[in-house]
């Protein structure tokens, strides 16, 4: 699997998509904004371009030559996607800390706090569990799976951002006691791990069943 991951990073996915999250993380410096957007650009820009890139680079033709299983092909592709999502989260975290030092934490919408990063990790897991198994049914068509993932994550982000803007009880949960925020992070990470487990299992099953 490590050789396939090396192949993903070296040949299959353009280096630009590993740098883009760093550039997008600069948006964390905009004062008083909806910072979930920083994470959502991955769905709006990167993922469809990455999938189209697999086709344009004829990645499947090369995979067919290699002594690998379909399972490890899926695992490597998902690992590359998780690395990009990880760069999004880590760079946004670093720039978010700087943002809070410059402007303070208070925000009309969801604050840049530890609960925010927990919920953004869950955001990626929700997208992944919707998108990946659908995409790996063909490993070619990505339009409908991306639209499905984008719509559901938009609703998820709307609830979070509008809720913390409009309702005090949501502010109390997500922007209140730091201890509660850490509990939210714990729950979000556990849910993310569960959703990713399902996403990987279903993706492998779907890819192995391609006729």
């Amino acid at each position: 699997m490590s050789n396939l991951l090396y192949k993903e990073l070296k040949l299959s996915v353009h280096w630009f998509f590993f740098v883009l999250p760093i550039m997008l993380a600069c948006l964390m410096f905009i004062p008083g904004w909806i910072y979930s957007f920083v994470f959502m650009y991955f769905f709006w820009i990167s993922i469809s371009q990455i999938c189209a890139g697999y086709t344009a680079r004829q990645d499947n033709s090369f995979n067919a030559m290699l002594p690998v299983t379909k399972k490890s092909i899926v695992q490597a592709k998902i690992s590359a996607i998780l690395i990009i999502q990880g760069i999004h989260i880590i760079t946004a975290l670093v720039f978010g800390i700087i943002h809070n030092h410059l402007y303070g934490q208070a925000n009309w919408f969801f604050d840049i706090n530890i609960a925010f990063f927990g919920m953004m990790t869950l955001l990626y897991a929700i997208f992944n569990v919707l998108f990946l198994p659908q995409y790996f049914k063909t490993a070619y068509f990505f339009g409908k799976p991306v639209i499905l993932g984008v719509l559901v994550t938009l609703i998820y982000v709307f609830i979070l951002e509008y809720g913390t803007f409009k309702y005090e009880f949501m502010r109390n949960i997500f922007e209140g006691d730091v201890m509660i925020q850490w509990i939210i992070v714990g729950i979000a990470l556990a849910l993310s791990a569960l959703l990713m487990f399902i996403a990987v299992k279903k993706s492998i099953h779907n890819y192995e069943s391609i006729r």
Partner: protein, 291 residues
């Protein structure tokens, strides 16, 4: 069919395919069986859409087969997929990573093979006049094919599976590549399965032929046996009635008829019989309904 496959024969063969079946909504690859003895070239022929690529992709587990078994050098591919694939060099007409340099692709490719032989790789790169600093899309189709073959031979693949390697190449490049194939099998360690619809290529270099039509096996045997097994027959319209029931297909023209007949079915000595080419066997079969 000319060939017979037995369990015991598997270990002497580079590739044994048994009862390979793959069903699509509008296409059935039906019960395909053939084998390649070690050190020989087998031509895998059929019209466009006959199921050649489907057979190759199914036997390599690139697409999921419905039933059947595949043994490479005596090992079942379903049970030893990674191990078996390390012994196979699969070269298709498809290109890959058009904007990547050959040296970058090689750097990735060789990581998958613990027995990668850098000396052999350099030898083949020089033999084929390849410039590794070039990008894939800067190579002609023939050069791309040679690069893929160089990769396959550098990890000591004992079975080369070539899917339409000569289609789209000019006659000089094709002849050049056929010479390469013949030199590869010379030492008796490497076997080649070579799918094509350009049968003249196989007249030059194949030892065995497997012929499929609309997903069904027609023949699998040595090229000489196959050519001996059929005869082109022609005669006048008056002679047609006496032989038409024995012919595979025939075509009538202003002067009489031409057709294909199995040598065993020759009964009438009045008409003219001749040696067919692979092309003619394929063309006459194209007009025959599959039973």
């Amino acid at each position: 069919m000319c060939s017979k496959h037995t369990e015991g024969a598997k270990e002497m063969e580079s590739l044994v395919v048994k009862n390979l079946t793959k069903k699509y909504e509008k296409f059935l690859l039906n019960d395909i069986s053939f084998s390649i003895p070690k050190g020989f070239i087998m031509g895998f022929i059929g019209e466009n859409g006959a199921g050649k690529t489907t057979t190759i992709k199914s036997l390599l587990n690139v697409i999921k087969k419905d039933s059947g078994s595949v043994y490479v050098l005596g090992k079942d591919i379903d049970q030893h997929e990674i191990e078996v694939k390390k012994d196979i060099g699969f070269v298709s007409g498809d290109s890959f990573y058009p904007k990547s340099k050959l040296k970058d692709i090689t750097k990735v490719y060789k990581r998958f093979y613990p027995i990668w032989n850098e000396t052999a790789y350099v030898k083949y790169i020089q033999l084929f006049n390849l410039d590794v600093s070039k990008k894939m899309d800067e190579l002609s189709k023939g050069m791309k094919m040679k690069y893929s073959i160089a990769l396959a031979l550098s990890h000591h693949a004992e079975l080369l599976i070539l899917d339409e390697p000569t289609s789209g190449l000019d006659p000089v490049a094709r002849d050049n590549l056929l010479e390469v194939f013949q030199s590869i099998v010379e030492d008796g360690n490497v076997s080649i399965l070579f799918s094509t619809h350009i049968t003249s290529d196989l007249e030059k270099c194949a030892d065995y032929i497997t012929f499929i039509k609309e997903g069904n096996m027609v023949e699998s045997c040595s090229k000489d046996d196959l050519l001996d097994k059929y005869r082109i027959v022609n005669g006048t319209k008056d002679q047609l009635d006496s032989v038409k029931d024995h012919m595979i297909t025939y075509k009538e023209n202003a002067f009489g008829f031409n057709g294909l007949i199995k040598t065993d079915n020759i009964q009438n000595d009045d008409v003219n019989y001749g040696q067919p080419s692979l092309d003619e066997i394929m063309i006459y079969y194209a007009g025959k309904e599959v039973l």
